[in-house]
């Protein structure tokens, strides 16, 4: 048995999904967090599957993530629909409910956020609503885990008895009523043979925006004319055009459902609180300085205070462990090559990356707080006009902010953008937002080469990345992606206190992710690098790495980087492994240099301030890692274009590194 979770954006679908299945999907106080379907089994019911879907306001397919939901409910034909309605915003949420009812699928309404309604003194007469809507209604609070068992019971029962919604006629007598019934009459046989619910088909014909449904109905010219005629008649009589008339019908019905059944709270605490917070955060003068201040503070705290402190702690732990192991292996008289594998390979490689775990987790913590509190939606509101100047909309800022964490989810988050043009542009821009995997590179290099200005160099790199992104956007906006940005219609949810559990789960997820990467991909890359730098083609251990297999490969591409100031084969090799995972740049340099004093010392030997700066700019801008490139290919639906993006970035990186190298030459000499 399969249930679909359907509801408006930000109504709590994913929160409910996590409660039902015990999984840990991303929840956030922002409309449009979920962009793909996700299925799981209800705890304790091994044969009952639920599918979490992106939020929609109406069964239409404007943006890609809405298409996911529309296609799922229309094509997969779930056994039941669990329609989640945000009880604090009941009228707009029920608008979708009415459309779902037309689908003739067993359905239960889960009235969510009842905790907020109750605490504000509002009430909902559940029985009356259920009666008037013709479907079971269960009050729940997904976040507080209230009413979930009852919901499962009712949903299971409704679906096993195949109880179709009892009411589906929402029109009161009048022109629109006559029109719908006339259309139903014409298309009845077509709808039946195409297996499309009759009322739903009629609505779609009136709205006329779902070409797929209309063509599946296979109507002939006469019938289409007949239908159009009755719609035009209705418009004349009604005074409203077809879309407005239909929306009006639905909202009128909703008002009649709510009248007497829903007693609204006079003032909602959450709303009052949001108003107060917004007086500051979206204040006419303060909003933009606050936004930049918040971002700076986040990076400052991450790199300099909390993250740094935890990292130093972890680093000394790893160093101590490495020293102990070294001594132990030496005392034990372990074979030199085996010892080199452990000390020069694993510790120098994976170890050099591992200590960045706290910094990355701290950064994700702040990004998730931005999202869970509801501030992210305000950033979109505040920055919309600025983004429009480069041809985007406020919504594009969300993938970009997520991009500071990781490019993969950021690229996926672009699905909420409703125009293809905005999506493509945003996808091209997110890699310029420096991802957290590059932090080890920046940190190690600035510590080695600019110890007095480390923080400045780090922040400068982030800003430089953004500036190049803006430049690229302006360029695209005036060349291949000419056109008008899409409308920006977005709900601003009330501020909420982030749930500790959600944040903790997210951090655990990110930490797990990082550790998995460190011990799989980076570990493997480390082994390869160690192997190829320790042996020559005849499998003899080399005297000096200069003779190794890797040196000969690295030397092949090194000349490309000579004009940028870092033509050493070890550096070019590290850039190649950086394509696998950005942290590998550091782990590779760690293995290939194996200087006493670690990778920091080695970098100080290998680079000058000038070539170091040029290298940092190159790593900031060059191709995203394999995982990100494949995500880009997926989202652009073309391997070629995805690879094109990677090449475009490499070229951009080369050019900017070249410029920086030469300007720095003039200044530092």
């Amino acid at each position: 048995m399969i249930f679909a979770l359907v509801g408006n954006q930000n109504s709590g679908k994913t929160t409910l999904f996590n409660q039902l299945t015990g999984s840990n999907q991303h929840v956030g106080n922002f409309p449009g967090v979920t962009v793909d379907s996700k299925s799981g089994f209800i705890r304790g019911y091994r044969d009952v599957e639920v599918v979490d879907l992106p939020g929609i306001y109406s069964i239409r397919a404007y943006s890609n993530e809405e298409t996911v939901t529309r296609d799922f409910i229309l094509n997969e034909k779930p056994d039941g629909i669990i329609n989640i309605v945000d009880a604090t915003n009941i009228e707009r949420n029920l608008y979708l409910t009415l459309q779902l009812i037309e689908l003739r699928i067993p359905m239960v309404l889960a009235l969510n956020m009842m905790d907020e309604v109750r605490s504000n003194g509002g009430t909902v007469d559940i029985e009356m609503m259920s009666e008037r809507l013709g479907i079971p209604v269960v009050p729940i609070s997904a976040a507080k885990n209230e009413g979930i068992d009852e919901l499962i019971r009712v949903a299971y029962e409704t679906a096993s008895k195949r109880e179709i919604p009892k009411i589906y006629d929402f029109c009161s007598p009048g022109p629109i009523h006559r029109c719908i019934h006339a259309i139903c009459h014409v298309i009845e046989d077509h709808a039946q043979s195409a297996d499309i619910p009759l009322r739903f088909a009629a609505s779609k014909l009136i709205e006329g925006d779902d070409a797929d449904i209309i063509s599946r109905l296979d109507l002939d010219k006469n019938e289409l004319e007949l239908i159009d005629h009755s719609i035009v008649e209705m418009e004349k009589e009604h005074g409203l055009d077809r879309n407005a008339a239909l929306a009006d019908m639905r909202y009128s019905f909703i008002e009649s459902v709510c009248r007497g059944a829903v007693v609204k709270a006079r003032e909602s605490k959450e709303h009052l609180r949001s108003e107060k917070i917004d007086r500051v955060l979206t204040n006419k003068y303060a909003a933009i300085p606050i936004f930049f201040g918040v971002m700076l503070l986040i990076f400052y705290l991450t790199f300099n205070v909390i993250g740094k402190f935890l990292q130093d702690l972890l680093q000394s732990g790893i160093d101590a462990f490495s020293a102990v192991t070294d001594t132990a292996l030496t005392t034990f008289g372990t074979n030199e090559i085996a010892k080199s594998l452990v000390i020069d390979g694993l510790f120098a490689g994976v170890g050099s990356v591992l200590s960045f775990l706290p910094i990355i987790v701290v950064l994700f913590f702040f990004l998730s707080v931005l999202e869970d509190t509801g501030y992210m939606a305000r950033i979109a509101f505040v920055m919309d006009k600025a983004l429009r100047k480069i041809g985007l909309s406020g919504r594009s800022i969300v993938p970009m902010l997520i991009g500071f964490g990781c490019t993969v989810p950021a690229v996926m988050a672009t699905r909420t953008l409703s125009s293809d043009r905005d999506r493509k542009m945003t996808i091209l821009l997110t890699p310029f937002m420096s991802c957290s995997a590059k932090i080890p590179i920046y940190a190690v290099f600035s510590a080695a080469l600019f110890p007095d200005f480390a923080a400045l160099v780090m922040i400068g790199l982030y800003i430089f990345g953004i500036l190049v992104g803006v430049l690229a956007a302006l360029l695209m906006n005036h060349s291949m992606y000419r056109g008008n940005p899409v409308p920006f219609v977005m709900e601003l949810p009330n501020y909420r206190f982030p749930s500790a559990k959600t944040v903790a789960m997210l951090l655990w997820d990110k930490a797990k992710d990082f550790l998995t990467r460190a011990f799989t991909i980076i570990f493997f890359a480390t082994l390869m690098i160690w192997f190829f730098s320790t042996f020559d083609i005849r499998m003899n251990p080399v005297e000096s790495q200069q003779e190794s297999i890797l040196a000969s490969i690295g030397a092949l591409i090194a000349p490309i980087f000579t004009p940028l100031g870092f033509g050493d084969w070890r550096v070019s090799t590290s850039l190649i492994t950086g394509f696998i995972a950005k942290e590998s740049v550091i782990s590779t340099l760690g293995i290939l240099t194996s200087e006493p004093g670690g990778v920091t010392n080695a970098i100080a030997q290998l680079f000058t301030a000038r070539s170091g700066l040029s290298f940092l700019v190159f790593t900031l801008l060059y191709t995203p890692c394999v995982a990100a490139v494949s995500a880009i290919c997926r989202e652009l639906k073309s391997k070629l274009k995805g690879i094109g993006v990677a090449v475009f970035q490499c070229v951009t990186a080369w050019i900017f590194a070249f410029i920086v190298y030469h300007i720095a030459g003039l200044i530092i000499g």
């Binding site: 009941i90 879309n243 929306a247 709510c258 609204k264 919309d384 006009k385 219609v489 601003l492």
Partner: protein
């Protein structure tokens, strides 16, 4: 009068929703239909978009899109009554 001209803090009742295609459907879906009461809450720091309140929730739309919505202004003493349709 159109919604973009409504001063901050005041309310109006929608009389017609213009525009076309996807944008218009989105506006209607969000509950911006004739007879609905809306209130302008604030404009963004750069002057655009605006934040409006209707049917007990906040929505942000751009001035250019707000200009598509015809309203008749109402005098409104009750601060937080921008919910539902005017009777």
């Amino acid at each position: 009068m159109t919604l973009d001209k409504l001063p901050i803090g005041s309310a109006g009742i929608i009389t017609a929703v213009g525009g076309e295609g996807a944008l218009r459907c989105r506006l209607l879906d969000m509950g911006l239909i004739p007879r609905t009461k809306v209130k302008v809450v604030k404009t963004a720091p750069l002057g655009d978009p605006v934040e409006i309140r209707l049917r007990d929730y906040e929505l942000t739309i751009r001035l250019a899109d707000a200009a598509l919505i015809e309203i008749s202004p109402v005098t409104d003493n009750n601060k937080d009554s921008a919910g539902g349709t005017a009777e």
